[in-house]
Amino acid sequence: MDNKRKISFFIIISTILILIFIFSGLNSNNKYYFLSKRIPKVIAIIITGVSIAFSSMVFQTITNNRILTPSILGLDSLYIFIQTFIIFVLGSGHIIVTNNNLNFILSGSLMIFFSALVYKFLFKKNQNDILFLLLAGLILGSLFQSLSSFMQMLIDPNEFLHVQDIMFASFNNINVKVLWISSLLVFILTIYTYKYTEILDVLSLGKEQSINLGINYDDIVKRMLIVVSLLISVSTALVGPITFLGLLVVNLAREFLSTFKHRYLMAVSGLISIVALLGGQLLVERVFNFSTPISVIINFIGGLYFIYLLIKENKI
């Protein structure tokens, strides 16, 4: 199969899953209720899937590393910290917690503000050293994690249940208004990233070759890092931390395609991501009857694949 046919194959699979997801068990009595619930969910899944896949693919290319995910930038930990902090200080009944719109805008903009701050500081101090950025992200990430667990220890047990809810990604309470903003953002970012696919191909040759071939490396890496953090912020604020999925889908896309061209890799990783999320959500809803959050399923399968990847890379 050539690459275009492989893409069509994944388009067909995801379309079938979308149709199953929307139309299964539908009858004339429940159709309005189900459709109003299911369609936003599908849109949320597509947006999240695409953001996670694209951000991970771009991130792995600019770091030249196949086992990193953007979670190393510490944005997921920041999200959990923000949520825990709000519940800890204001209580779970406060409007910021209960109103999804407000929560989305607040946590989304805080994450974007945080990454802007880190980039600004680091790029000024330590020109173009991406490893330094990763280290800083890792340290700040664990700082937020420790602060969150500290608050989770002190918090009222009933409030802790709310915190726990937030710690896992979920597609069960998607707000339609929020969905429009995020769809628009992700759509713009997708088009923007697709303009850079050829440059990303060159970036995968490494820093020195990229400069040799006339790419303004520092500038492009900065731009791409901003795109990555925007995508992560949107998807995390929308459904919760789920960046681990990126590792899974990006590497699966590389296995399936055996090409270096981002034009194809990104399309397929986005589609696999949608398939994985839809499949996972179907399992959660129809098999496990909502008894387990989707991120547990994704992390379980992703973890297994990660171990396989480590063993396989070790052999070569």
Partner: protein, 251 residues
């Protein structure tokens, strides 16, 4: 012509390249020699804008390196570093096609294909052009990288220790190719090289560096001299003429 003026590279408070000026002639092979830590690779990396300079100026064709458009510069000067580990699986042809990026921005046209074919032909890689890089031997891989630089079609070709990890046969092969680039295709080649006899046999000019400074910059037969070499390496040399080329023995 490449002209370097009072260039400095500072790491911490050590000047790795220390207030160095020189000119590099067009249409010749110029070799940078010197002991480890002399600043050869750093100098080469600065000339090819892989690393920023601390101070000083570098003029390429009369224009300061910072004023060049990145893409235009990539059509004028190319650099090949000694370690070329690539994270992705590429065939020889795909790698060579990357050399056309400054011209085609990834969308290869017929003109580009012609250049790629020519580069592959010139480096005698036709039979293995669809093989993956990791299937090739060290010498073949080095040739593939040089083919990529050839496809890039630049006036200046900079190579950092191109003979690294190659045996004698492949080293000679690569040096002959570089000589051919200058003599047949009219390119300007600048290399960092450790083997002083290869430098003596194949280069037109030698720049001898030590502690970030130029010890001597002259025609090859002026540098390959017992006194000059002793000054650079702190070693005793004995030099003999073979076919009007100077060959050094050192112990």
């Amino acid at each position: 012509m490449i002209e370097v003026k009072e260039i400095v590279k500072q790491y911490g408070d050590k000047n790795v390249v220390d207030n160095l000026s020189m000119k590099i002639m067009k249409g010749k092979i110029t070799s940078f020699i010197g002991p480890n830590g002399a600043g050869k690779s750093t100098l080469l990396s600065m000339i090819s804008r892989l690393i920023p300079k601390t101070s000083g100026e570098i003029f390429i064709e009369g224009k300061e390196i910072g004023e060049w458009d990145d893409n235009e510069l990539a059509k004028t000067i190319s650099i090949l570093k000694q370690s070329n580990y690539i994270n992705i699986r590429l065939t020889v042809r795909e790698l060579v096609s990357f050399g056309r990026f400054p011209y085609s921005q990834g969308k290869i046209n017929r003109e580009d294909i012609k250049y790629v074919d020519k580069a592959i032909e010139y480096m005698q890689l036709r039979s293995m052009q669809h093989k993956y890089l990791e299937e090739l031997s060290g010498g073949q891989r080095q040739r593939a990288y040089i083919a990529m630089v050839l496809a890039q079609d630049t006036e200046y070709i900079l190579l950092d220790e191109p003979l690294n990890n190659l045996d004698m046969k492949h080293s000679v092969e690569i040096m002959k190719i570089l000589r051919g680039l200058v003599d047949k295709l009219g390119k300007t080649v600048i290399i960092v090289i450790h083997d002083i006899n290869f430098a003596s046999w194949y280069s037109d000019y030698i720049v001898a560096l030590k502690n970030g400074k130029i010890v001597k910059n002259d025609k090859t037969n002026q540098i390959i001299d017992e006194k000059v070499l002793k000054q650079i390496y702190d070693l005793d040399f004995r030099i003999q003429d073979i076919e009007s080329n100077k060959i050094c023995a050192y112990f």
